[in-house]
């Protein structure tokens, strides 16, 4: 009941669903928005947050010297699990200089998918580090090039120096079933940890 919430004031509102979120992370241009869009029931939405230059460290200004202000864009999608439960998928901002936003995004997330472009896995190294350091559960999803996967999952695991308990899933972020299976792999990981 919405009326029993600490925050609720007033009455006569339809029941609001519980909400949860999963982050889709990875380097710039690895296909995060593509993955969000392929499983979301809505066309991915975008929010843009204005940032003042004062909010950024000096070292982070490379490439944006001409700008007084910039915006961080975040794309997200939605999956309605039931009348009472809605899952949101947030694509994290890919550019490294916006990573401070990840901390806010990560709070209260069920877990994360680190998406890797099979042609340049190094662009997602930092994302792997981010979730490992914060002990946020994640799976690694290797997005093929045009759906093709030249390397087996174990080679990717080795190149990322991933612990054995982090699942590595080969995927095609353009395909709904493939992206869904990545999310299911994350939920299976979370459920296994919860049962332990």
């Amino acid at each position: 009941m919405a009326g029993s919430d600490a925050l609720a004031t007033g009455t006569a509102a339809p029941a609001a669903p519980d909400t949860v979120k999963i982050l889709i992370a990875g380097g710039f241009g690895v296909g995060k928005t593509t993955m969000v869009g392929s499983v979301s029931e809505i066309t991915p939405l975008r929010t843009e947050e204005p940032l003042t230059v004062a909010g950024l460290g000096v070292d982070d200004l490379a490439g944006i010297e001409e700008k007084r202000a910039t915006t961080v864009a975040m794309d997200f999608g939605r999956i309605t699990i039931s009348d009472e439960l809605v899952l949101y998928l947030f694509g994290t901002p890919g550019q490294q200089r916006f990573w401070f936003m990840w901390n806010d995004l990560a709070v209260g997330a069920l877990g994360a998918v680190v998406l890797i472009d099979v042609r340049r896995p190094e662009s997602s190294f930092a994302a792997v580090d981010f979730f490992e350091r914060r002990r946020i559960p994640f799976v690694v999803a290797v997005n093929g090039f045009d759906g093709r996967h030249p390397y087996p999952a174990d080679d990717i695991r080795e190149s990322l120096a991933l612990p054995a308990d982090v699942p590595v899933v080969l995927c095609d972020a353009r395909r709904r079933e493939s992206s869904r299976d990545v999310l299911i792999a994350l939920l299976d990981l979370l459920i296994a940890a919860a049962v332990d």
């Binding site: 006569a12 509102a13 949860v20 939605r78 039931s82």
Partner: protein
């Protein structure tokens, strides 16, 4: 959205907040769900134009991030306006399901897993 457009938009919502005590911005996460109270409580102030836009968009429950995207406004601006609306009793806010890695909610996880399996 052009820069001048963004600047023009920023002025009005921030000007509306005028130093009153109000619910904390921390009450509104990206996936906090807000719903307009219908009918509005008796004696509540007439909503301003931007507030009316928000109220129309949340006649049914909608997450803060969705609201910001639909209104084409930054989340930070929408949250300040939502604080005012909550204080005025014109909306209700439903916090996200709490998630703690240390005390996982198996029932919740299984529900999400089953929902994904149905996709």
């Amino acid at each position: 959205m052009t820069d001048s457009d963004a600047a023009g938009r920023l002025v009005r919502p921030f000007a509306l907040t005028g130093g009153r005590t109000r619910p904390s911005r921390a009450d509104f996460t990206l996936i906090t769900t807000v719903t307009a109270v219908d009918p509005p409580p008796e004696g509540s102030p007439r909503p301003q134009a931007e507030q009316s836009r928000i109220l129309r968009r949340c006649a049914r429950p909608v997450a803060v991030a969705e609201l910001a995207a639909l209104l084409d406004l930054p989340v930070s601006v929408v949250v300040i306006m939502l604080c005012d609306l909550l204080e005025a009793g014109l909306i209700t806010a439903h916090p996200p399901r709490p998630v703690s890695p240390r005390t996982p909610d198996l029932d919740l996880l299984q529900k999400v897993r089953e929902g994904l399996g149905r996709l």
